[in-house]
């Protein structure tokens, strides 16, 4: 099979061997679960339960607020304790519905149905009601993504199975253990877009997944695309360009390139929602890193604390210095482990050493490695300079807003400069100003 690739990118040490082949283990929830109202991009959900209410597993506890928002469901049965402000993996504070787990796991009656008998609107409604969001990290509500303005023109449905983040193996395990679940989700999406072809985009370090998925694709309009292992192959815009040759900029959506992209975990959630009528209640999370005693892939109820996920992997064998929610390239460092797992938490990494704080940034010598490896074809070192000096005009002129914050520049920099961080800060400032209408972004 021909290997597809892209220009730029890096080859970080992948660390996947720690958990590759570790079967996904179901983890029981603790006594209290915290359901954030902001697990997605868009307006926070609105709670529809109040203190003292008894809820069942799968029961809706918060409704979407507006078009770009998502429903939230309980993942255990128990009593609502109230609403509490909690710190999220991103570092922000968010309102969480606290549910006291009764450990009975009584479920609501899920409405299973056949895909053949469903209409387009029905499928979308089921996905919306299940509270499915992009589970790779962005948290974009899936029903919105699946309702592009140009549905008839969509010709490619990409399953993002690149899993290019080092250390994470959740998608890998899903594909080898339950390939049919991914297929169910993909078939549901393909039913929404009858003119489209499905593509399973898998990096070539996951040959087992290709073997597992291949037989299932045969009778359908689905093709496996083998991609060269390179970070950030799974970045949405990079993936679309690699597979279809269409390049979109940061202002465009995949639908502008006639594509729909969803990652493995999201596809599973779509399948569960459409066929089994099950809302999004659990997700796989890879608990790994050199400080973790028994690195594992877990299936955890959404709303448990990261501490409980770490305990499920045997706790720590060494004192961790740095704990990350997500992958090492784009994940967020956690202040404490008492942060709830959300729909977008793909990993929990614990490292006994923090290479970032150990390396002192020095002066840029203009080596150009960041430029060479930047998949966004921009000049990270210049942009970081503009950002540090607060030169917004030059930042915009040098296409600073096109940065996808993949982190390649910071990773590769021999002077150990925090390029991504500088650029990210400036982007955030400019996006905020743009929202307020102060600066027009070209």
């Amino acid at each position: 099979m021909r290997l597809l690739s892209f220009k730029g990118g890096i080859h970080p040490e992948d660390g996947k061997e720690l958990t590759k082949g570790e079967k996904i283990v179901r983890t029981a929830a603790g006594d209290k679960l915290y359901y954030s109202l902001s697990q997605h991009i868009g307006a926070p959900s609105v709670p529809i339960v109040s203190k003292g209410d008894h809820v069942l597993r799968g029961q809706m506890i918060a409704r979407a607020n507006g078009n770009v928002s998502a429903f939230v469901h309980a993942s255990v049965s128990g009593t609502v304790e109230g609403i509490e402000k909690m710190r999220m993996p991103s570092g922000n504070m968010a309102d969480c519905i606290v549910v006291d787990n009764d450990h009975e796991m009584r479920e609501v009656q899920f409405q299973a149905d056949k895909l053949e008998e469903m209409t387009r609107d029905e499928i979308l409604k089921r996905i919306k009601n299940a509270g499915v969001v992009g589970m790779g990290g962005a948290g974009f509500p899936t029903h919105v993504k699946l309702s592009p303005p140009n549905p008839d023109k969509i010709d490619s449905i990409l399953v993002n199975a690149a899993e290019c983040e080092p250390y994470l193996t959740g998608d890998y395990q899903r594909m080898t253990e339950e390939p049919e679940k991914i297929m169910t989700g993909l078939l549901a999406v393909l039913k929404l877009f009858p003119g489209a072809r499905g593509y399973l985009c898998i990096e070539d370090n996951k040959k087992d997944c290709i073997t597992a998925m291949e037989p299932l694709c045969r009778d359908h309009n689905i093709e496996i695309k083998c991609l060269r292992t390179k970070y950030p192959q799974g970045a949405e815009r990079v993936l679309i360009s690699t597979v279809t040759g269409r390049k979109i900029n940061s202002k465009m959506l995949p639908a502008d390139a006639l594509c729909i992209v969803d990652n493995v975990e999201t596809m599973v959630a779509i399948g569960e929602a459409v066929i089994n009528g099950k809302p999004l209640m659990d997700r796989t999370i890879t608990v790994t890193g050199d400080a973790v005693k028994n690195p594992k892939n877990l299936s955890v109820p959404i709303g448990i604390l990261h501490r409980e996920a770490a305990d499920a992997a045997g706790g720590f064998s060494k004192a961790p210095q740095k704990i990350i929610s997500g992958g090492p390239m784009m994940g967020n460092a956690l202040i404490s482990l008492d942060v709830p797992v959300t729909k977008t938490s793909s990993g929990l990494l614990a490292f006994s050493e923090d290479v970032v704080s150990e390396s002192e940034p020095s002066a840029c010598m203009n080596c150009g490695r960041c430029v060479e490896d930047c998949p966004g074809r921009i000049l990270p070192t210049r942009l970081a300079d503009f950002a540090d000096r607060g030169d917004k005009e030059s930042f915009l002129k040098y296409h600073g807003m096109e940065c996808c914050e993949c982190g390649c520049c910071s990773y590769i920099c021999p002077a150990k400069r925090h390029l991504t961080q500088s650029i990210r800060s400036m982007r955030k400032i400019l996006l905020d100003e743009q929202k307020k209408g102060q600066v027009k972004v070209k």
Binding site: T244, R246, G331, R377, R382, C413
Partner: protein, 332 residues
């Protein structure tokens, strides 16, 4: 878990490559040519190299200490500058001249503009040009010693070695290339010729360059376009006279400059497209300086003049940004 967790912005992993690693790789790549220089020119060459490297490092250390700045001598960049300057000096230069050159390179060209990454000219070459202008007779004194005389060939009249027991004044091979002449190209390629300490052996310099390119310390674009465009221009202007063209490429500082100095990170364009044009401009300038200039050599001037054009080249070759180009290959 009593200690606080570390929190920082992503990414949370870093590659193993450091500024230091890069500088020491460059030093290793320069080693064969330096050893060749010492072999050819003996103790004086070794002395020049040691004084030059030592002065560079000391200058950087003193300046940064006195200015209460973080001392950066451990990054190896001052050593590289010192060695490069030594390699483009004749072995006959007096010790004080080497010191003046290094102080100029490190203090004036590098540190006064803000240290590593901030200089707009290659420090070693700027210093060489400064010395060339200020002390031109000493800088072009290629007298050969007894030690040297039986190791080099006189490339003017092909392969007869310089036959003299007493030191004689001899021109560098570059100064004696004339149209229609025949040259001992093999000796010139191997480096058995007169010249500055490090410029003689094209072979060893190219080996160093290949070493750097293999380990991705430098890119092949600049050396290739530089040497290539110079060779083509010279070939065309000499009426396709192959022998002098090859002699011009192998002699003088062209290969040393193209591989180690034109590729200097700080003073070359950061974009690949820019590097391509930069190489072409260097080739053109070197050709002009060598063909029409008063002195036989033109590499140093070509590089430092082109250094001044780098900001413009960079501005004209800004990368377009992913997906920002207007043309689309699909119908929306």
């Amino acid at each position: 878990m009593s200690e606080l967790l570390h929190v920082s912005s992503s990414p949370h992993i870093r590659s193993g490559m450091k500024t230091q690693t890069i500088m020491f790789m460059v030093l290793i790549a320069l080693l064969p040519a330096s050893v060749m220089g010492i072999y050819l020119f003996g103790i004086p060459a070794l002395t020049v190299i040691l004084i030059s490297v030592g002065t560079s490092v000391l200058t950087e250390f003193l300046y940064e200490s006195l200015m209460h700045k973080p001392v950066t001598i451990s990054d190896g960049s001052a050593m590289v500058t010192g060695l490069l300057l030594a390699l483009c000096l004749p072995a006959s230069v007096p010790w004080w001249l080497v010191i003046i050159g290094d102080v100029f390179a490190i203090l004036v060209v590098k540190q006064l503009f803000g240290g590593i990454g901030q200089n707009f000219m290659n420090p070693a070459l700027a210093a060489r040009c400064f010395l060339l202008i200020s002390f031109s007779s000493r800088m072009t004194d290629f007298t050969i010693s007894k030690w040297t005389s039986n190791k080099i060939v006189d490339s003017i009249s092909s392969s007869t070695p310089v036959s003299s027991s007493t030191p004689v004044s001899s021109a560098t091979p570059l100064g004696s290339i004339t149209p229609g002449g025949e040259y001992d190209l093999l000796s010139m390629f191997l480096g058995k010729t007169n010249g500055t300490i490090g410029e003689t052996s094209a072979l060893l310099l190219l080996l160093g360059g290949i070493f750097l390119a293999v380990f991705k310390i430098i890119d092949y674009i600049i050396p290739l376009t530089y040497i290539g465009s110079f060779a083509i221009l010279y070939l065309l202007s000499s009426g396709f006279d192959f022998s002098p063209t090859a002699a011009e490429v192998c002699s003088g500082g062209l290969i040393l400059g193209a591989v180690f100095m034109a590729t200097d990170y700080t003073t070359r364009p950061i974009t690949k497209k820019g590097q391509f044009f930069y190489g072409l401009i260097l080739g053109l300038m070197t050709w002009i300086f060598r063909k029409f200039g008063a002195a036989p050599e033109g590499v140093s001037y070509a590089i430092i003049v082109s250094n001044l054009l780098v900001p413009v080249i960079e501005r004209l070759t800004l990368p377009s940004g992913f997906g920002l180009k207007k043309e689309r290959s699909w119908k929306n």
